[in-house]
Symmetry: C2
Subunit: 343 residues, 2 copies
DNA sequence: GTGAAAGCGCTAACAA
DNA sequence: TTGTTAGCGCTTTCAC
């Protein structure tokens, strides 16, 4: 059973002063006699007093808490992004509540409602795979709670966004594959409902077109970002004998590579493989994985910064709408150009 | 700027009834005229009313929120454990606030204080590497807020714990390495301050003793669970020519294997490698990694269950103290017994 | 520099 | 079944 915690009222009566004086002494923004403050702080320390933030938030009408909604804790990208978000929020005196949608739109709506009920001061969200509308977000934005989408953002840009230029990144990776001599390029895409997947797909297709290559629908298979889905997708593609594979993310590439090796094909000699994200393990996988590196922690930090801009903005000040970052090509063994190496 | 949200008072005045009736109608545990309830719910729906949980929690003296403290979001184990914790908590109508200590004792204490100030109903914690005392936890337990340690638990058992039998797991892995013919066994351990590391180390040592092998201190090097630290540790060990390596976790094993391969040594022919955890990638790493599989989500769920037991327990009821689970050996390529295979 | 008093939004006696 | 009232712990006018 929970014991009744000490309150400022307790402190006040023990010290023979009023609640208000104790309250003021506890924070350092008011004129309080140094003597008085000292006494208060000493007793508070001694009795392990802790301000009830529930009460303070209720009174102040702000909680110093940010809500974060992610598809899943288990996706490495979000683990890292959360570190960045947590750090940036903490630096500004904010704490975070993290919810996961499990890629369900219904859960995502529930998460939003929960965060609203909890009176968070702002919300960061990476959309679920099944989210097709952003009405639930517009609604809360209209209620005055700022929202920022990050990574998995929607196409419509009424709500500020922080994301990677996925189109350019995919184009870059595709050009690289073509430059090293590949001609039969395959792509394992992400869920087609996501703007992010669409853009990486478009970048891939543009890369092919640029080089005068055909886009073969049989060589494009959808995944759900998981290792397992990568394994399944590549099996559908292999019969068409690709000489290169561009994957929507590293995890999918890992799964695909496992199967490719299992079938006795060599990477990169028979098939070159490129991923997207640059997960920690991609540098030590065998072969190490060529990939488009994303500044993950920075994305998290940027999302928090942008949220603060919108939280503190006056009506007429100039604030950023979107922040677009770029991914950088890291060439590793999975796409090494054997001809070049031989020289 | 945040607009004033609708309150029950607003609803009451619009409907011409009292706050309490509205409050009662909104929850379904009171006798309220079905007609009345219907009207209230309809208006609430229409106006997007959302109970202010800050106020409700303050009044009810309970928040329906569990606090979770983990060393880092970026450790895969915790990503998965969080999924389990989140699901188990949600099933019981609880939400979670997650804090990371970044393996700093100071941060851990700050996290505890923050959660106490936020009036969470219970706390789940995996200790930071630098936590040597559990006084901060005993203090809050005494204040009536139940605490459960999971995974990284302390040796002292005043506080309920959920953990793996690390000693038995390590012993099992070590026996396996010896059974396949290895004689010069090395160990990359975790931070020696952690009970978990100590137990895995003891299990390793016992395995050697059982087989009449010496424990060579030069072949035991400490890591901090990261891939990088595994790379560094193995370099110190290689000069002593081990024929087997037992790592405190899979990430460390991945790092070590990368270096072993770089040096031109073969796995498992020259060195067999075993890990601990069974991370998703260990099955598709090259070579795939032999490891002690942990039921990670179940650990998270068990921790939540145990916390609820302590939260709801009457003084005299029988409640569990510790929950100990066991890890299971998964044999893969990194320790394949070549002699056997050749048959 | 300090105190008295009101009120944030909600729930729960107690009355009616 | 519904209303009245008090109060959770805090901050903040407004006096003094």
């Amino acid at each position: 059973m929970q014991k009744k915690p000490i309150t400022i009222k307790d402190l006040a009566s023990m010290l023979g002063m009023s609640k208000s004086t104790v309250s003021r002494a506890l924070r350092d923004q008011y004129d309080v006699n140094p003597e008085t403050r000292k006494k208060v702080l000493e007793l508070a320390q001694k009795l392990d007093f802790e301000t009830n933030t529930l009460a303070a938030s209720l009174r102040e009408n702000r909680s110093y808490i940010l809500g974060v909604i992610i598809p899943s804790f288990s996706i490495p990208f979000y683990s890292i992004a959360l570190s960045g978000i947590h750090a940036a929020a903490a630096a500004a005196g904010y704490n975070i509540i993290v919810c996961q949608s499990d890629d369900s739109f219904e859960n995502e709506q529930k998460n939003v409602n929960f965060l609203m009920k909890s009176r968070v001061d702002g919300i960061l969200i990476s959309l679920s795979r099944n989210t097709t509308s952003t009405e639930h977000l517009l609604r809360i934005a209209q209620r005055g709670v700022p929202v920022v989408m990050f990574n998995r953002v929607s196409q419509q840009n009424t709500i500020p966004r922080v994301f990677i230029d996925d189109y350019a990144g995919a184009l870059c990776a595709t050009r690289h594959l073509i430059e090293i001599g590949c001609r039969r390029l395959a792509h394992i895409s992400g869920p087609s409902s996501l703007f992010l997947s669409q853009n990486r797909m478009k970048g891939f297709e543009e890369g092919l077109r640029e080089a005068g290559l055909n886009v073969d629908p049989d060589m494009i298979v959808e995944s759900d970002f998981t290792l397992e889905s990568g394994k399944i997708a590549i099996q559908k593609i292999l019969p068409y004998k690709p000489d290169a594979l561009f994957c929507v993310c590293d995890a999918v590439a890992f799964g695909a590579m496992a199967i490719i090796k299992e079938k006795g094909l060599r990477i990169p000699e028979d098939i070159s493989v490129a991923g997207f994200t640059n997960e920690p393990l991609s540098s030590i996988f065998s072969p190490s994985l060529t990939t488009m590196a994303q500044p993950i922690e920075e994305i998290g930090k940027a999302a928090v910064d942008l949220l603060f801009e919108h939280m503190h903005s006056l009506k007429n000040s100039h604030i950023r709408k979107d922040i677009v970052m770029s991914a950088g090509l890291i060439i590793r063994e999975s796409t090494t150009n054997k001809t070049v190496i031989a020289q």
